[in-house]
């Protein structure tokens, strides 16, 4: 191993200025010219490498071929470490690049490495770094250490060793110093390029992580950048879009779906007017079916001369907002339709009764029809208000600890008086955790589900009600989100309630839509079942207001299971999970017909 102290003591600085004394003969001149050409070529090769490993390999080759040295070693600092470490080593057996942690243990005293001038050491120096053919390096007798300095920063040192003990030739010292400067420059360049690349990649990663679509056009309206979200929005790989005129790559239509004159679109306007242009548009992506409504804002980016050089556009897919808007319009339209029918009966029969003589028996018929219709109207308006209050969040929930067992008992007691004489099989444990909920609203939800089960089943059918810790939905059953197409949202996995019937069942195409306001499955209409089609929408809204999720499983002719899962109160989760008291299969009331 290295004898550090001894080396340090015997190290002697040498004068690196190769002052030419006396006259050189022609041969010497020719040799000097050839040498400087070789040095020039070697320097160019090293400088042309932009990658640290490649340039170190080239530098080892250059020193080797110029000097036939017995050992060439590069020591480099890193961003993290000020002390230079061996990075590249060349011996007559071959050269190697040393990765961090390779364990090569060739070292030079810190003081020698830190010197700003070349230092020559005449002492044995050896390394335990494995050479390529598996052997260990023999020691070298003299070592010349040249600092690698550039632009005021210390990058490390180049060490050249030879077996003989005679001093290094002056011209060799010159060559080594020149090469060291070039290597230092090349290393510094490579590191700066690496840093620039890293910065660029970070910026790119950052822009790609932006959830909204981001697109940059130049002054000529050509796309110069788009992030991942933008490529996904226009459904094309970025390479296909880059460089193309933006108005050609993205067809922007107005909200009604008609084309807009190019100069009126936000891109040229932002650049021409030099201000942020915002608005909504429709992105035409091929067929009319795949048009995407977007909200976009385009901001000009000014060049140093103050002229807009680029424009940055942010586009946000507003399909969901549009869908909600459409559903609201549809809801109002359906609500008005549903109100108009009973109103038509009330107004029409009133006019007939007032305008002609109607026999008393017919009068009785009409009045009872009017009575039915006014009841229907009253229920409808009540439910409409309920649903809108629930969905807009204006419905205040009176939350308190509620026992689901109690809610089930209440609903069963209510429904047992139903004219279809249903029977109930209830399966629940008395020690189920309570939920924090509005008991009245939960009763309303369960009454709705049980009511449907009774109405869509033959008289005297059995309706099974189950309450359990965890989720009762079969694997693969989707929990519904606030919008029908949100399907597959996470289950709050607290406590779940299911109501199973052996009735009509729901066709697959109706399954999600039955929760939409006013949507009444075909089968339900054909059956002439009562109701205006708001019950399930209200039940779903109530469950969602409690942080829960609704789900349904059904096949036509084989019955349906409607269920909902509610989250448990945090306090309960903590208390119950500790002793596991509520785990295990339910036992009480299994299959009992009440």
């Amino acid at each position: 191993m290295t004898t550090n102290t001894r080396v340090q003591e015997r190290a002697r600085p040498i004068n690196s200025s190769p002052g030419v004394r006396g006259h050189l003969n022609e041969l010497q001149l020719l040799r000097a010219a050839a040498q400087s050409r070789a040095l020039m070529r070697a320097g160019m090769t090293v400088l042309s490498k932009l990658d640290e490993e490649a340039l170190l390999t080239a530098a080892l080759d250059a020193v080797w071929s110029l000097l036939r040295a017995d050992l060439v070693a590069f020591f480099l600092t890193t961003d993290q470490e000020e002390q230079p470490r061996l990075r590249a080593l060349s011996t007559p057996e071959g050269s190697q690049i040393i990765q961090e942690g390779d364990g090569a243990s060739l070292s030079l005293p810190r003081k020698v490495l830190a010197s700003r001038v070349p230092v020559e050491i005449d002492s044995p120096w050896q390394t335990s770094a494995p050479s390529r053919n598996g052997g260990t390096l023999r020691s070298v007798q003299s070592v010349l250490v040249v600092p690698l300095d550039v632009r005021g920063s210390r990058l490390g040192a180049l060490a050249v060793g030879k077996r003989g003990s005679e001093p290094f030739r002056r011209d060799h010292v010159g060559i080594i110093s020149t090469l060291a400067q070039q290597v230092a420059l090349a290393v510094d360049n490579a590191r700066r390029i690496d840093q620039a690349r890293l910065k660029e990649r970070r910026t790119r990663d950052l822009l790609d992580s932006v959830a909204d679509a981001l697109l940059v056009v130049d002054g000529g309206l050509r796309i110069v950048y788009l992030n991942q979200a933008a490529a996904a929005l226009v459904r094309q790989p970025a390479e296909r879009v880059l460089g193309r005129p933006v108005l050609e790559a993205l067809r922007l239509l107005d909200e009604a779906g008609s084309s807009t004159p190019p100069e009126a679109t936000p891109f040229p306007r932002a650049i021409k007017e030099g201000r942020v242009v915002t608005g909504t548009a429709v992105l035409a992506l091929g067929e009319p079916a795949s048009n995407v409504p977007v909200a976009l804002s385009v901001a000009p980016v000014k060049a140093p001369d103050g002229q807009p050089a680029y424009a940055v556009a942010i586009m946000h897919d507003i399909s969901r907002e549009k869908k909600i808007q459409r559903m609201k319009t549809e809801f109002v339209s359906m609500a008005s339709h549903e109100i108009r029918t009973p109103l038509a009966a009330l107004q029409g029969f009133t006019e007939l009764l007032l305008s002609r003589d109607v026999p008393p028996s017919v009068q009785q018929d009409w009045l009872s029809l009017m009575n039915e219709e006014s009841t229907r109207l009253a229920i409808l308006i009540e439910e409409l208000l309920d649903l809108t209050r629930m969905e807009s969040g204006r419905m205040r929930l009176r939350r308190e600890p509620v026992s689901m067992a109690e809610v089930v008992r209440r609903v069963v007691a209510l429904m047992e008086r139903h004219e279809r004489r249903p029977r109930f099989a209830v399966c629940l444990r008395e020690d189920l955790p309570q939920v924090t909920a509005d008991p009245g609203k939960l009763t309303q939800v369960l009454a709705n589900l049980v009511g449907n089960a009774v109405n869509y089943s033959p008289p005297r059918s059995i309706v099974r009600i189950r309450v359990q810790r965890g989720c009762l939905a079969k694997p693969g059953t989707e929990h519904l989100g606030p919008l029908a197409e949100d399907g597959g949202v996470a289950c709050p996995a607290g406590i779940s309630v299911s109501v199973r019937d052996r009735g009509l069942g729901v066709a697959p195409q109706d399954l999600r839509r039955i929760f939409e306001p006013f949507y009444r499955a075909h089968a339900a209409k054909a059956e002439g079942a009562a109701g205006v089609g708001l019950g399930l929408a209200i039940a779903k809204a109530v469950v969602e207001r409690h942080g829960g999720r609704m789900w349904v499983e059904s096949s036509p002719g084989r019955g349906s299971t409607f269920g909902f899962c509610l989250p448990l109160d945090e306090r309960w989760v903590q208390r119950q999970d500790g002793d596991g008291r509520l785990e295990g299969k339910p036992t009480a009331d299994e299959g009992a017909v009440l």
Partner: protein
């Protein structure tokens, strides 16, 4: 005696329409859904069809289209609807409807409208 086919899934509305024409010299046929309406139109050759748009099965627009293209092209069809939006009117005219009656309606005005429609020379 002229025959009017009333198509609505609400029995109350059918009763109201029938009552409105009581004593006005019309024969009233009633259908509760699209299939029944098309069937009655084929067999009974009504002089006018009063058609609700939202009915189970084949909807009112489609019933109207089939009446106008296949079954009874010259028989006037009035759409009876609780939707009074422009889009419904446009779609109605596209499928060949001759007019609209919005719910709620005055029985006397309905009778007058149908009298007028049937008195107009056939196109």
């Amino acid at each position: 005696m002229k025959t009017i086919l009333v198509v609505d899934d609400e029995p109350t509305i059918r009763t109201l329409v029938a009552a409105s024409f009581d004593g006005n010299g019309y024969r009233i046929l009633e259908a509760a859904d699209g299939a029944e309406a098309l069937d009655l139109a084929r067999r009974e050759h009504p002089d006018l069809v009063l058609l609700d748009i939202v009915i189970p099965g084949v909807d009112g627009f489609e019933v109207c289209r089939r009446l106008k293209t296949e079954i009874a092209p010259h028989v006037p069809v009035l759409l009876l609807t609780g939707f009074d939006q422009q889009s419904y009117r446009e779609r109605g005219f596209q499928v060949g409807a001759d007019g609209f009656v919005a719910k709620p309606f005055s029985p006397a005005a309905l009778v007058a409208l149908i009298d007028r429609t049937l008195a107009a020379p056939a196109v």
